[in-house]
Symmetry: C2
DNA sequence: AATCACCAAGTCATCTGATGACTTGGTGAT
DNA sequence: ATCACCAAGTCATCAGATGACTTGGTGATT
């Protein structure tokens, strides 16, 4: 229930300045009018301008140099994709995570070494099956295994994104569902490791998708009801 | 040349508050101390606190409700994946983008409609082949086609992340290479559309990977030398 | 007893004015 | 030609004040 008209002055200022940047009113490297001028142009106080500028700095559009001015750094949007991901639905988030997961498994298969495989099997044994007890600890062990699979891809980008999405998905599930998605069993987990060990990227990809398929259909059933 | 000590008060405040959030000092949905209290805790003025809070709001961590307080929305770290992606190598960036591309093609195949397919073919015709002339315009047309493919997945998360990676990759290429990666021809592009039209997710996935394979090996050759 | 209108306290939103710190460009002496 | 110095411009930060909005309680009404 997010009413779009419900906007505060500073956010309006952010949008106004962002639009001018995207419109190339000031080219890359150029200097913006000073805070007092922006304040007059937007009819808001200087404090509000500062809040808006700081947001745009944090998003990579601008750079401020004390004593000199505020400069356009880039017209490309950097941090919005992930903040948009937050507002997206659980289905979309899962699909994105699956994309990262499958690709990571492919790379892991191509780059697998006996040591890494042994490490994965160790984590899997440690994880065990959930048989009552500390649920949080079990989830942590499960996550550790999955993170190790991604890390086996040797790709830092995938690793970082996966961390982001796993936290995000966990939070979304807690906020919307009552936490009752099926947890794949030991065999499904082991199948992923086996596929990676085989060195066949297609097999590893397929194993991950088979792993996630029941979770996704359970999610669809939940979202239907 | 970014010296780490060169930091202003507001950024320091952002980091301090972010750390407390990640440390779970306040759980999700909980209310932060009010602005005056934060100001006292951090020994900065209230204006500085407001700037810091607004940055965290724009990054999705917090939510402010006028008259009520400031609340924790999520603890998922958005800044880390982005900075990691920035620092990563071109190979890693391409692999991440390939993951998104392949998954988007899968979804597009599952959800394809005649209208969407017709739209894709239209964009492809419009794109044409590069035969001299305005290179930037050609790149824009090419990008429009690829974005439409991703958009056909109907997944906003994939769309947003794809935009992020395509700008990131462009920037990295301009900064490191002299821009000479091969551009797949018309037939390779059309193959993706055909596969999506067929409605077969595996075929669509494979088509994208075949599309990207020559680019990746060219990249490897360049990085070797 | 339940419901509703109203009120007061708490909190964020915004404005205003002032001072400090830093960059830049020019000035003048060497 | 070079260097030290200075002044203007600009962002960084602070402090105080007022307005707008949410929340929870109070009391009258039904």
């Amino acid at each position: 229930m997010r009413s779009l008209s419900k906007t505060n002055l500073a956010d309006t200022a952010v949008e106004a300045i962002r639009n001018e940047i995207l419109r190339q009113r000031w080219g890359i490297g150029e200097r913006l009018p000073n805070e007092a001028a922006l304040s007059a142009m937007l009819s808001v106080s200087r404090g509000t301008v500062r809040e808006a500028v700081r947001v745009l700095v944090s998003q990579g559009y601008l750079e401020t140099r004390q004593g000199s001015g505020t400069y356009v750094l880039s017209t490309a949007d950097t941090s919005r994709p992930l903040t948009m991901a937050r507002r997206a639905g659980l289905r979309d988030q899962f699909e994105a995570r699956l994309a990262l997961d499958a690709q990571a498994a492919r790379l892991a298969a191509m780059r697998q070494t006996p040591a890494v495989i042994a490490g994965l099997r160790g984590l899997l044994t440690e994880r065990g099956n959930y048989e009552g007890g500390d649920k949080a600890a079990f989830i942590a062990r499960d996550l550790a295994f999955h993170q190790a699979v991604i890390a086996a891809s040797g790709n830092g980008v995938l690793t970082g994104m996966f961390d982001f999405f796993s936290t995000l998905i966990t939070e979304t599930i807690e906020a919307t569902l009552g936490e009752d998605l099926p947890e794949p069993d030991m065999a499904a987990h082991a199948a992923i490791v086996d596929a990676i060990e085989s060195g066949d990227p297609d097999a590893a990809d397929a194993a991950v998708r088979r792993f996630m398929a029941p979770v996704l259909s359970a999610l669809d059933r939940l979202l239907m009801s």
